[in-house]
Symmetry: C2
Subunit: 291 residues, 2 copies
């Protein structure tokens, strides 16, 4: 048995505030990915608006409705025409609230909206954090979403996998916040390694679509990656600074196999929730040796 | 301010059933690491007994008391003579129960015993799983322990970090259970990448001491590694098949900095426990689009 799915992660450069340009780039890349047979296409975080807002008014001016905003409508058309499912980062205006969101669009319309749980730095000024981790059941498999900094919180991806996700789509805008090293000698950044670990620990495919370029002094890292369900990359990492369309075929029938590392082990069933708390039991300074 | 600590991870080849040989190797390597100034020395999983038992009787015959067993006593002498703290994998006999354990020994005696929570494959025949994650406060910092397959369960390392651990010592016996790929082109194995992610997500140093060699057809992977508190390796990965003593200096004052990725972010305080559950909210097959 086999459940193949072709996944695309698109790396390019949105421009802050240039809604029309960003929309046309999102449409162009999604069409290109669909033309190459991609069934699930992942675009970067805040693909609609760009990232480094100058002030709240710019963040507000560049926000869109997830129901009938221009980006969602345009990508919905691509999806309807191609049959591909598209995950796109959206500066989402929902009533009075703004969210750093990822929408999952299909020929049926919008299937899920994920609002970033862990806001990074100035995002805390522009956005209200989300409160849930939706999963959508697509024809080829179940898809969950997280965004960028969420990867640094292992609980989020774990919850998606335990909830049934087989693919985790990660729109991202990775930045250089790690002073000692940003890339290693192979051009992997820290997000790539975390994506690999998330896959290894959960038996899920992880598709990270990063952006490139510099906005108002903030440089983005590229190095987009698609990781298979067994912890090893199947496409990427992409370059640090060039547009790139990553495409990979993943067999979701391998999800079950990757979670049963031996006939006697299962990455979920072997969990020990009752034991997952730790405390200091001994102190050398006091010379106290305890069992 | 600075809180430097010199950490050693020792990679060598224990032999199943050869208790005296294993003890002498553990003592020899620990003395060597202490002579090079290591303050915390990590030895492989089941360093006392070897790994691939032929049957329960061999597992039983090679088990030792954590109180006055030969390995614990011998390494306790090394610790008392050198002042170094030693984490060693122990086939532990405690009353009627046998555990795959790691003991933390200091000049004061045994400071903590960790019993592996997630038993791998045939270990389920030989050992009773543990139920807790102890942390010891040492003169240079707080140390927790996990063993090998525990790395595939992000909750364990997370619990240690949230409980106060600054260094996670990982005695391990990594084996090749990942069919598509065991090492990448740089000689990293999957355990190395998970150790890097654990460090990045938790702001802890991770010291993995793996073994080498083949026992009864089971090959061990080497590739021991020490990861700094910021997700990047500071020593290793070691070779696939040669004994190696990894030594690295880590400044535990960087733990706090590595957990505050920006002035507005903290890897622990930004957690969203109330949101960490996921469920299917929409199904494309049924054509249902939900918010």
């Amino acid at each position: 048995m086999s459940r193949p799915v072709r996944i695309a992660a698109v790396q390019y450069e949105p421009r802050v505030g240039e809604l029309e340009y960003n929309r046309s780039e999102a449409v162009r890349w999604s069409r290109e990915a669909a033309a190459q047979g991609a069934q699930l296409i992942v675009l970067p975080e805040l693909a609609s608006s760009g990232y480094v807002f100058g002030d709240d008014s710019e963040a507000q001016r560049t926000a869109e409705s997830p129901d009938d905003g221009a980006l969602v409508s345009a990508l919905g058309d691509v999806s309807a025409a191609s049959g591909a499912y598209i995950v796109a980062g959206l500066n989402e205006q929902d009533g009075d609230c703004r969210h750093n969101s990822a929408v999952l669009l299909g020929p049926e319309g919008r299937l899920a909206t994920y609002r970033k749980l862990h806001l990074y730095n100035d995002e805390k000024s522009w956005f209200v954090p989300g409160a849930s981790l939706p999963i959508a059941e697509l024809p080829f498999g179940r898809v969950g979403m997280i965004i960028c900094f969420d990867l640094w919180f292992p609980e989020a991806a774990r919850a998606l996998a335990l909830g049934g996700a087989e693919i985790i789509a990660v729109p991202t805008n990775w930045v250089a916040s790690f002073k000692r090293q940003v890339y290693d000698d192979r051009g992997y950044c820290q997000g790539d390694y975390i994506a690999m670990a998330v896959s290894a620990q959960n038996g899920v495919a992880v598709a990270c679509a990063d952006r490139i370029g510099t906005e108002r002094g903030t440089r983005f890292l590229g190095a987009s990656i698609i990781v298979g369900v067994d912890g090893w990359p199947v496409a990427g990492p992409a370059s640090k600074d060039s547009p790139e369309l990553l495409i990979a075929d993943v067999d979701l029938d391998d999800v079950a196999r990757s979670r049963s590392r031996t006939p006697r082990n299962h990455l979920f069933e072997d969990r020990r929730p009752e034991a997952y708390n730790a405390s200091v039991v001994s102190a050398a300074a006091a010379g106290r040796a305890v069992k």
